[in-house]
């Protein structure tokens, strides 16, 4: 399964719920598959997707907030896992697409093939942690998790993609304004 396929499956269930997506190919894929105003595409500031998601989740406790993270991104801000685990927002679903490489910079290894991001999340006090590498697995997990049982981490092992999606054409200011309006 490549990231695009994983995102397509996730979006079938997530649909209009808010998503904060990491810079690089994750945001590009999301933009090309299902662009909507409740997607916050983080263009720069690598590593901070889960922090932005945490800020939103804490202030909107009645809404389920999804974070689309990457292995390279979360390894840059592992402290975020400890902060999320410490506070324990019930409405946060943290999805990590893990291909063990920095795909958008040329495929350099991240090392996530030898370390266990899922076990780190567990040790950081996430209430539920899942790992899968199949489409069926993703659907099963999404059906299992409730609306309010987080923080949840879903580690999705993916293969390197074979095509590059178009860049996001919406301006950062417009991404923010649309998101704020429709959140």
């Amino acid at each position: 399964m490549i990231r695009k396929e994983a995102i397509e499956i996730l979006l079938k269930v997530i649909s209009k719920e808010p998503i904060v997506s990491a810079n690089g190919f994750i945001s590009r894929d999301l933009f090309n598959i299902y662009d909507k105003t409740t997607n916050f595409y983080m263009i720069g500031s690598m590593g901070l997707t889960s922090s932005i998601g945490l800020g939103i989740a804490l202030k909107k406790p009645k809404k389920r907030i999804f974070v689309f993270d990457g292995d390279g991104n979360i390894l840059m801000n592992l402290g975020s896992l400890t902060t999320i685990g410490k506070i324990g927002p019930k409405n946060l679903v943290h999805v990590v697409f893990d291909n063990s490489i920095h795909e958008s910079t040329g495929g350099q290894p991240t090392g996530s093939d030898v370390i266990s991001i899922d076990r780190i999340a567990k040790a950081c006090n996430y209430s539920q942690v899942f790992k899968t590498s199949t489409k069926n697995g993703i659907l099963k997990i999404l059906n299992k998790i409730g609306k309010n049982s987080g923080p949840i981490l879903i580690l999705i092992k993916i293969k390197k993609g074979n095509s590059i999606g178009k860049r996001i054409s919406t301006t950062p200011k417009k991404i923010k304004e649309d998101f704020m309006k429709d959140l």
């Binding site: 720069g44 500031s45 997707t49 922090s51 932005i52 800020g55 909107k60 400890t82 950062p172 998101f179």
Partner: protein, 154 residues
Amino acid sequence: MFDYLYKIGIKNFIGVPDSTFKHFIEQGIRKDKILITTREEEAIGIAAGMLLTENPSLVFMQNAGFANSLSTITSLIQLYNFPLILLIGWRGLLKNDAPEHKKIGKIQPKLLKSLGLESRILNDSNWKQLCNWAVKMSKRDKSCALVLPRKFLD
């Protein structure tokens, strides 16, 4: 100063502790209104998330941590135009301050200027007025920084 900022509308205080404003942080912890993060960039990310929900937010840090955050300020706060207030403890001013603070403390004003981030320096008589200024800036959708020089040694 914590109580005053809270009173005039800032409800979220996120950051990494600095001894320069330890009493400020103590008061925030007492009131359960402070979130301590592992790094300054992380604090800025959380504050950006809170600002996306229209909750006025302040991030506090030491000037060394401010230097950590330069790229986050340009590629998140300034790129998306988040009206964030930064509170920065400024070390490296006193002659006998610890050696690790000297170089970074010296270039602190230049760093702010390079970023084009509007800032004011706090003192005993202007702090209330500058808190009002910062809140006004955030209401006008502008980010800004309040800088607190450390004038004591421990």
